[in-house]
Amino acid sequence: MSWALGTFNSAALALALLLLLYPRGRSGDTLAGLSTLTGLALYVALWATTVYATRRALHGIDLLGDAGAGDRFFGQALRWGGFTGIAFLLEAGLIQIVSLALAGNLPLASLPFLIPFGAIGSMVAFVVGALVGVTLGAVDLAGVRLSRGLVERIAGDGPVASVR
C-alpha cells in the first residue's frame, strides 16, 4: 500500500508543479537549468523518499480497515511530510554538488557557506514539506473513501464474501 500511495504522492506533486508552471510558460527555463541526468536523479530521490516516508507514516495505521485511522494519519502526514521536505532538500543539494563535481565546476571554497543556508533552508523545507504532506494526505484519504464505495459496489455486483 505504501508503494502505491508513495508513488501516487510523488507523481501527483510533480504533475501539480508542471500544471502550475507550464501554462505560465515558466517550465522551459526551470527545466533548462537542469541536465536530464540531474533531473532524473532528483525525481528518483523524491520518489524513494516519498515511498519511505509514506511507509513510515502508515506504520501502525490501518487505513483500509480502521474507519477512525484518518485523524492519526493526518498527524503522521504532517510529520513525515516535513521529513520528506528536509530529506529532499539535502538530496537535491548533494545531487547538485555531485553534478558540479563531475562537470569540474565545484567551487570548493564556497561549500562552508552552504551550511547556514542549509540550516535555514531545512526549516523552510520542513514547513513546506509538512503542508504538502497534509494536502497529499487529504487526497490519499479521499482515495481510501472512494475505494470503500467502489468495493461496496463490487460486493453488490458479485459474490464477495465479506467486505469492510
Binding site: 500500500m1 508503494w3 502505491a4 500511495l5 508513488t7 501516487f8 510523488s10 507523481a11 501527483a12 510533480a14 504533475l15 501539480a16 508542471l18 500544471l19 507550464y22 501554462p23 505560465r24 510558460g25 517550465s27 522551459g28 527555463d29 527545466l31 533548462a32 537542469l34 541536465s35 536530464t36 541526468l37 533531473g39 532524473l40 536523479a41 525525481y43 528518483v44 520518489w47 483500509l64 480497515g65 555531485v98 553534478s99 563531475l102 562537470a103 487526497v139 490519499d140 482515495g143 481510501v144 472512494l146 475505494s147 470503500r148 467502489l150 468495493v151 459496489r153 463490487i154 460486493a155 453488490g156 455486483d157 458479485g158 459474490p159 464477495v160 464474501a161 465479506s162 467486505v163 469492510r164
Partner: protein, 149 residues
C-alpha cells in the same frame, strides 16, 4: 553531469517512457479481459494485485521520464499558447485524471484481497474501472502520438 552522451541518454529516457506506457496499457488490457471473463475468477484477484504493483512502477517511470523528455527540450519547449502546448496541457490533465482514478482502484483491489473475494471477475464495477483505465491510457497514448507528430 557529462557522464553519458546526451543523445544516448535521451534515447534511453524515451525508450523507458514508451516501455512504461506499454506495460501500463498492456497490463490494463490483460486485466480487463480477465475481469470481463467469467472463467477462472479465483485467479483474477491475484492478477489484479500483480498489475497494481506494476502499474505504480510504470506510473512513476512515466512521470520521471516525462519530465526528462521535457528537460531535453529545455528553452526550446514550445509555448503553452501553441497547438503543441495546448495538446501537451491536455496530456498533463489526462495523466492527472489517470492517477486520480487509479488510486481508489488500487486501494479497492487491496480491500478485496483482505475480503478474500471469490467473485472478482463477476464485479461490474470492477469491469467499469478497469475499462475506464484502459480508455484513459488509450487517450494518453493518442495525445502523445499527436505530440510526437
Amino acid at each position: 553531469m557529462p557522464v553519458l552522451d546526451a543523445h544516448a541518454l535521451h534515447l534511453i529516457v524515451r525508450w523507458s517512457h514508451v516501455a512504461a506506457m506499454a506495460t501500463a496499457l498492456g497490463g490494463a488490457l490483460l486485466i480487463t479481459v480477465v475481469v470481463f471473463s467469467r472463467r477462472g475468477p479465483s485467479g483474477a484477484l491475484a492478477a489484479a494485485l500483480a498489475y497494481e504493483r506494476l502499474f505504480w512502477a510504470a506510473a512513476g517511470v512515466l512521470v520521471m521520464t516525462g519530465v526528462g523528455n521535457l528537460g531535453a527540450f529545455g528553452r526550446a519547449l514550445p509555448e503553452p499558447r501553441t497547438d503543441w502546448g495546448s495538446t501537451f496541457t491536455v496530456k498533463l490533465v489526462a495523466v492527472a485524471l489517470l492517477l486520480a482514478i487509479s488510486l481508489p482502484r488500487t486501494l479497492a483491489v487491496l480491500r478485496l484481497e483482505r475480503a478474500s473475494s471469490e467473485g472478482l471477475a463477476a464485479g461490474g464495477a470492477l469491469r467499469t474501472i478497469y475499462a475506464g483505465t484502459v480508455a484513459m491510457l488509450a487517450v494518453i497514448v493518442f495525445v502523445a502520438e499527436v505530440l510526437a507528430h
